[in-house]
Amino acid sequence: MVTASTEVTPRGITSRPNLVSVGTIIWLSSELMFFAALFAMYYTIRSVDKGLGQPWPQAHLDLRLATINTIVLLLSSVTCQMGVFAVERHQIRRGGRIWNVPGWGLREWYVLTFFMGLYFDLGQGWEWLSLIHDQHVTVASSNYGSVFYLTEGFHGLHVAGGLVAFLFLLGRTFAAKRFTLEQQTSAIVVSYYWHFVDVVWIGLFTTIYLIH
């Protein structure tokens, strides 16, 4: 007969998968399906328009601006990960002077990431303004306009959502007087989201700007 041992050591929170991060990954995988619909829409309209003998893309896209934007967003993933490494060594604020980059904590890295993400969204807005004013491509002007603004727009909204998350996370580091595991968890799941948005952009950039 097997009996359960009466002396069981309670398992700490770090000995099992973090529920918040598991939930975030499941949610992000469902977000992939959201973007799957957008990608499928784009490719459907593209194949229909090309079948009708229409040109694709039906606008002159600024590849140089988009490439710089993409590089900034890719680098922001690196700075975000540096923030995660900082929070994993329980370092919220910088150790030395502000220009001593290796001594940066979570706060400095995430503020930098925030501004890089902001640059991306503003750069995209700038491109949209020139498309609307100079080339008269709007969401209602053509099939191409619709799929272009819907795919880029929903991605831009995701970036904006990430920016809000960075602000809330930074706000929490100022609201709390001491470091908690919860802050580490929040920082890590926000970084998951940010990497996800970044990877989706690589797909979108290839789809919209490179595949003609």
Binding site: A4, L19, F39, E182
Partner: protein, 131 residues
């Protein structure tokens, strides 16, 4: 956590093979794209479980001789009760209604959503719970 990760990675492999066959027979960009992202969906979860499982000690679930009580201990933080999700929901509903009614209601709804989300995010960081 190997079994879970292999399940999801197996799904990813299956979707990948289906995708190639689908494209070969149909040349349909819509379904091919959707299937390609289904590969990513399964791969994301599978990779996460494999990667996380390597960093964690063996769980009682992974042990064929494991007992229920071996799983006792802290699970995480759970809010005992909170009114904020209700306010976030009401505020978001107001903003969504504003899209149909008019910009003035949308702006009010967005402002209310912002305030409710701030309350939600900082609920356990102020007042009695400040730490």
């Amino acid at each position: 956590m190997k079994v879970e990760s292999y399940l999801f990675l197996g799904c990813a492999t299956f979707f990948g093979a289906s995708d190639v066959v689908y494209w070969y027979f149909s040349h349909d960009p819509t379904g091919t794209t959707a299937l390609a992202l289904a590969v990513c969906l399964a791969f994301l979860v599978g990779f996460y479980l494999l990667f996380t499982g390597r960093r964690l000690p063996e769980r009682p679930e992974d042990n064929p001789d494991g007992e229920i009580d071996e799983g006792v201990g802290e699970l995480g933080f759970f809010s005992p009760h909170s009114w904020w999700p209700l306010f976030v929901g009401l505020a978001a509903a107001t903003a969504a209604l504003g899209v149909a009614v008019g910009w003035w209601l949308f702006l009010i709804g967005m402002l209310a959503t912002l305030l409710a989300v701030i309350g939600f995010v900082f609920e356990y960081y102020r007042g009695h719970y400040a730490h």
